[in-house]
Amino acid sequence: MGSVVVNNIVKTYGTKKAQVTALNGISFEVAPGELFGIIGPDGAGKTSLFRILTTLMLADKGEASVDGYDVVKDLKAIRKRVGYMPGRFSLYQDLTVAENLEFFATIFNTSIEENYDLIKDIYSQIEPFKNRRAGKLSGGMKQKLALSCALIHYPSVLFLDEPTTGVDAVSRKEFWEMLRRLKEKGITILVSTPYMDEASLCDRVALMQEGKLMSVNTPSGIVEQFGKPLLAVRSGNMLQLLRDLKQCREVEDAYPFGEYHHAVMKKDFSQQELEACLKNHPGVTIKAIQPDIEDCFMDLMKN
């Protein structure tokens, strides 16, 4: 039995005339103690999914359970045992750090001391600022405080909706380390993010696009599924290079990727033909690379 079970969830917004499908038949299962990532661009339906799982919204179709409790019928039981951190900073900006924590401990019928072990690592980092108002904290510190508040009652399942959006690279890294440590304490964690590079930090990820799951697998499993040669190409004229790559018969898909363009090649492509396509370019560098999650995402989006 999974810790979180989602079965064919459909959610649409708006009236019949202008209907937007946020979730279109989503199914997956998260094992207890797993760090599960939901990766997708803005508007993929991540927040809708989280709201349904945290009983904040009702799905139009399908059912879901968290910790064995149905998200519609066992609303109260779920609200007692999950921790939820919405995408937007949602603590009381006028209260100090310590007051916020105190407040959330109280509404969950617990005290800071009771579960201090769990949040010690995180909270100790912001403790020097405990008399500062939450609204005056930096982005990274806000996230740490929000996470502390979401953990104060030792939830069995933790839902983090885009916790690293708008947070600097160092804080992001720290944040993921914290998640790993929480996972070791046996908490099931569902985390959504638009950053593909964070996928590799999860046990398993679900790639989501326009309300559909494209793939659910371990990060390495997703990369293995790619199964096509991938090249990184650069030259003196990157714009023209992208056009030429797209023209070339040997190339299935090409897109800019940092300093290089990534070119997804047909199986058994010939290096000579590719070089022939790019013969007009001065100083072409071509190297074979391993695909990462983003390449896989681009590939899955195409199909």
Binding site: R51, M57, K76, K80, L91, Y92, I107, F108
Partner: protein
């Protein structure tokens, strides 16, 4: 958008036609102790004018008092015994006009109209006579002998302030939680939604009590408007009205998602009707029928009348139980409606 364009139209119509300080078909009592030719004639004239409707079943001063307490009448005309005979033989007679001056504007207007009609009659019968008849009108302003405006605006301001603070602030603070997203995490907690709301409402209840206290203190010691009735009853009714306003604010908060909308609804939807339709600025009796009906659903109307009765007229609970019951009913209805509408989920 509709509100922006529609509001001036509605307001100009309401102000222009409906809300007037003029007196029309106001019910007055005639206590006729002589019932002779002259008194009957004057009564007929009063009745015939478009200002008054005469109610005759008044047989004693205590009847007048009772009618005032009930609030059905605002003016009583008392003819003494031997009115006509006095007029014929002494060439002068007296009429007493007793007005309920808890609303000084209305009281003045009513007595002026009545005096004018009586003088008119006097002039008519005097025509062609050498010795003129004089009918002297003696005016008595009940409850507010000095015709102080404060007597009517203290209850009015009280209703207005409470309405504004309780309704608007409750609505705005709850909606603010929705806006900042704190409602979202609070919902995903074992906290019962009911408790969230009570917690939001209690500070404003206390705040409003302080407001009542300061209004009462100021009116007693600075404006010289004494509290005639039972202070505890007055405060009790105040608490009741505060709760009514709080539930009203709650209802607004459940139907809106932004602080701006909540504020706008509270201001235009609650504040204006409170000012215009509670009877504080414009007497309800003079409004057209449809506005009178609408005024019934304005909680401030009932509270205003309660405060006036208790504070100015010094009446007890027996005089205001009907209004109290209406307020209780409104509160329960609003509460039921907002609990039903309160979402335990986001959407």
């Amino acid at each position: 958008m509709f509100i922006l364009l529609g509001m001036p139209i509605v307001e100009i119509i309401i102000f222009g036609f409906a809300l007037t300080n003029e007196v029309k078909n106001s019910k007055i009592a005639v206590f006729d102790q002589s019932a002779d030719q002259a008194s009957v004639a004057i009564t007929q004239e009063l009745n015939a004018s478009r200002y008054f409707d005469v109610v005759k079943d008044i047989h004693s001063y205590s009847d007048i008092d009772a009618a005032f307490r009930k609030g059905t009448m605002k003016l009583a005309v008392v003819f003494p015994k031997n009115f006509h005979e006095d007029l014929l033989h002494l060439n002068k007679a007296q009429v007493q006009l007793i007005a309920d001056a808890s609303d000084p504007n209305v009281a003045t207007t009513l007595t002026n109209y009545a005096t004018a009609i009586i003088l008119d009659y006097q002039d008519r019968i005097t025509q062609g006579r050498e010795v003129p008849y004089t009918i002297k009108t003696e005016q008595r302003m009940l409850y507010n002998p000095q015709l102080k405006g404060a007597y009517s605006f203290v209850p009015g301001v009280m209703a207005m302030v409470l309405m504004l603070i309780c309704t608007m602030m409750t609505a705005v603070t709850i909606v603010k939680e929705k806006e900042t997203g704190t409602m979202e995490i609070m919902l995903v907690s074992p906290l019962q939604p009911f408790k969230i709301i009570v917690a939001k409402a209690v500070p404003y209840l206390l705040l409003s009590l302080i407001n009542i206290a300061s209004i009462l203190l100021l009116s007693t010691f600075v404006l010289g408007v004494p509290i005639q009735g039972n202070l505890l009853l007055l405060i009790g009714e105040g608490v009741l009205f505060i709760i009514t306003c709080l539930t009203l604010g709650l209802l607004i908060s459940t139907s809106t998602d932004s602080q701006q909308t909540a504020m706008f609804i509270s201001l235009t939807g609650m504040f204006l009707p409170t000012v215009m339709l509670s009877g504080f600025m414009f007497p309800i009796e003079n409004m057209p029928r449809f506005l009178q009906i609408i005024s019934n659903i304005v909680p401030a109307r009932w509270f205003y009348s309660i405060v006036k009765d208790v504070m100015i007229k010094g009446l007890g609970f027996t005089a205001v139980w009907k209004e109290t019951l209406i307020l209780v009913g409104m509160t329960l209805a609003l509460l039921a409606l907002s609990i039903k509408k309160f979402k335990i989920r986001l959407a």
